[in-house]
């Protein structure tokens, strides 16, 4: 009879345990914290004011910004000893759109090993091997399409669209599209002969402290005027309003871009 009882009751308990989620042993839990990236857009050391023609760039162009849409990807934290933690969290690229305020917040990873990191590195845009045409099928990301005739098979999406106006040499308010993505090499007739990957890594020095069992917020700031300041003074009057087919201009943007971003330590978490 005891055997019958055991045979009857045991499977039931096995079922019970199998259905229930195991409770974690606090002692064995990893010490991790969540990381949230908050993206900001600044000009002249203040939060960017959109649609007002009052900024002046290094070339002396008076300009305004209407909207900025861009991708950040492949975020990595680096410790002082050189060890790295990749934070892709199965969503390697994040889209930021100043028309969509919610995109300024990226809850990138909930389980970042706690500790002090020396730097954070990210890719501006998307690496070529990941930048597949039509990999994004839904708006708004899909609207960042960079045509394959201008970017090949590894240039599927704009890295950034920065749209605005400048006062041209005739004193007129004229639109510009500072769009960065894969460039082209061309022959004397203008025919495309190859493609140039223009994505770049930006490393921002910390320290970056990840507190265990907390949501840690880091600010990444785009200082807009720096796109046109150094090492190249970028003059809209010389270059004009469009650069997707002007690799020389995009190269200037890319090299200036290494000075565009800065790290902001936020005391308060954003409202999520």
């Amino acid at each position: 009879m005891k055997k019958i009882l055991i045979y009857l009751v045991m499977p039931v308990f096995i079922l019970l345990f199998a259905q229930c989620k195991k409770s974690e042993d606090p002692a064995s839990a990893k010490k991790t914290g969540a990381l949230v990236l908050k993206f900001e857009h600044f000009a002249d050391n203040a939060s960017l004011a959109f649609d007002t023609l009052h900024y002046v760039n290094a070339a002396g162009n008076t300009y305004e910004v209407s909207e900025i849409q861009w991708f950040v990807s492949d975020v990595v934290l680096t410790k002082a000893d050189g060890s790295k933690v990749e934070l892709d969290n199965n969503n390697f690229a994040h889209y930021i759109d100043t028309n969509l305020p919610e995109t300024a917040i990226w809850k990138i990873n909930n389980e970042v090993p706690a500790g002090e990191y020396a730097a954070i590195t990210f890719v501006f845009g998307i690496k070529g091997e990941k930048n597949m045409p039509f990999m994004f099928t839904d708006p708004p990301k899909s609207d960042m399409l960079w045509p394959s005739n201008l970017g090949g098979e590894q240039g599927g999406y704009h890295y950034m669209k920065l749209n605005g106006f400048w006062r041209n040499s005739a004193g007129e308010r004229e639109p510009f599209n500072f769009h960065l993505g894969v460039g082209q090499t061309r022959d004397a007739d203008g025919k495309v002969t190859g493609f140039v990957q223009n994505w770049f890594e930006s490393t921002l020095q910390g320290p970056v402290n990840i507190q265990a069992n907390q949501t840690n917020t880091l600010g990444i700031r785009m200082n807009v005027e720096q796109w046109w300041e150094q090492p190249h003074v970028y003059d809209h009057n010389t270059i004009g309003g469009k650069i997707m087919q002007n690799q020389q201009a995009m190269q200037m943007g890319v090299e200036n871009g290494r000075n565009v971003f800065s790290l902001v330590q936020h005391a308060e978490d954003p409202v999520l």
Partner: protein, 405 residues
């Protein structure tokens, strides 16, 4: 002993299983109660098309619902009338062979200018404020409907001057467009009560409503949901361009030249119209048509209040564009050639022009004749001939005398 095992051990353990189980999903079967379930309708998932569909949770698509919606879409009695000269259905203006627009060659709506059923004030019908937009691929649109996006999920307005301010009469999605069309003085010019009564009086609908919704009740809510289901089912995924992307077709050299112009800053169409296979971003742009703007013109500014949206309208999909003349919200261009000429050398600057119109100070992208011909050749590859003839979207035979077409 058996009782002891049964009541003393096994039963409590099973009770514990039920009460302590970690699963929160419980299903109850009610004996004798028949649970209605229509057949799910799935939007064909063509390669590169969006996966995020605009299907409200309270109106899932079903085969029966879509089919009922097709009947109602083509039934002129929806206008609340039964006399032949007063019939108006959705299909009176939304014509399949024109991408569900009216087209420019309609014998009644001359030049594509539509108007409503006659009223005392307008014995010839009140003109609709703007020209038509196509009813194609709307299931992929999450950014509002109509030229200025008035109908959108964020719209909290309820009712109109003639409609009570009840939650069911909102302005949020395609369902709303149904009763808006019924009651609008420049469309069916009817009342909801009158229209519902007219449909209730048609015997064949009882069975169709039962098949779609589980019982024979015919009401406004079900009518709008069924028509919305049918409209969402209208997808265009098989133009030559779509097949080219899927490597199922080749473009001619002229079409490819046009493609490369379209998808470059040389013609620069793609920033507004080509972000995806939908051939639209569904965003709103002031595209440099005018210098002055009238607040009465129902632009995007009327919805957003943003001064930068003055004179801005939706960038419509270019799918089937050769069939959807006239063009622009006010139908000012009659042909594709006129549209291409406009973007080439006809732009005019205003303080509200969208910055994507970056060639506005040069009056346009300045295409030569060969480029214009190539661009037009590419635009003609955007016609989905299969969709324009597909039987799944055509008028049911028994409604041809009632369609108001």
């Amino acid at each position: 002993m058996k009782k002891l095992i049964t009541f003393g051990i096994v039963l409590p353990v099973f009770v514990a299983l039920v009460t302590l189980s970690c699963s929160t999903d419980t299903h109850e079967d009610l004996p004798g109660v028949e649970i209605f379930q229509a057949t799910p309708y799935n939007i064909p998932q063509a390669r590169f098309f969006p996966k995020n569909l605009n299907i409200p949770s309270d109106n899932p698509m079903t085969l029966e619902g879509v089919e009922l919606g097709r009947y109602l879409f083509y039934d002129g009695r929806l206008s609340g009338n039964s006399s032949n000269d007063m019939l108006m259905s959705c299909a009176t203006c939304h014509i399949q062979e024109h991408g569900f627009e009216v087209g420019i060659d309609h014998p009644k709506f001359t030049g594509g200018r539509t108007f409503g059923l006659p009223t005392e004030d307008h014995p010839n019908g009140k003109p609709t404020p703007n020209f038509m937009l196509p009813l194609v691929n709307s299931v992929y649109n999450h950014n509002g409907f109509l030229w200025n996006g008035f109908v959108n999920e964020g719209n909290e307005q309820l009712g109109t001057a003639t409609i009570p301010d009840k939650p069911e009469f909102n302005f949020k999605n395609i369902e709303s467009l149904v009763w808006m069309s019924i009651t609008s003085s420049h469309e069916m010019n009817s009342t909801i009560e009158k229209s519902v009564a007219a449909i209730q009086a048609v015997p064949m609908y009882k069975g169709k409503f039962k098949a779609a919704f589980g019982d024979e009740e015919i009401n406004y809510d079900r009518i709008s949901k069924a028509i919305a289901q049918f409209v969402r089912s209208i997808v265009a995924q098989n133009s030559k361009f779509h097949k080219y992307l899927r490597q199922e077709a080749e473009l001619t050299s002229l079409e490819k030249r046009g493609h490369d112009l379209f998808f470059s800053e040389d013609a620069d169409c793609f920033h507004c119209h080509g972000g995806s296979v939908l051939m639209t971003t569904n965003e709103y742009f002031n595209n440099a048509k005018d210098k002055k703007f009238d607040p009465a013109d129902r632009d995007r500014h009327a919805i957003s209040g943003d001064p930068m949206d003055i004179g801005a309208y939706r960038a419509p999909s270019l799918i089937n564009i050769e069939k959807t003349a006239p063009y622009m919200h006010d139908g000012r261009f009659k042909t594709l050639d006129e549209v291409i000429d406009f973007y080439s050398e006809g732009l005019v600057y205003s303080d509200y022009v969208h910055p994507l119109m970056k060639n506005v100070r040069q009056q346009g992208v300045q295409l030569n004749d060969a480029d214009k011909a190539a661009l037009k050749a590419f635009l003609l590859t955007l016609t989905d001939h299969e969709m324009l003839k597909s039987p799944q979207y055509t008028c049911p035979d028994e409604l041809k005398v009632w369609s108001g077409q």
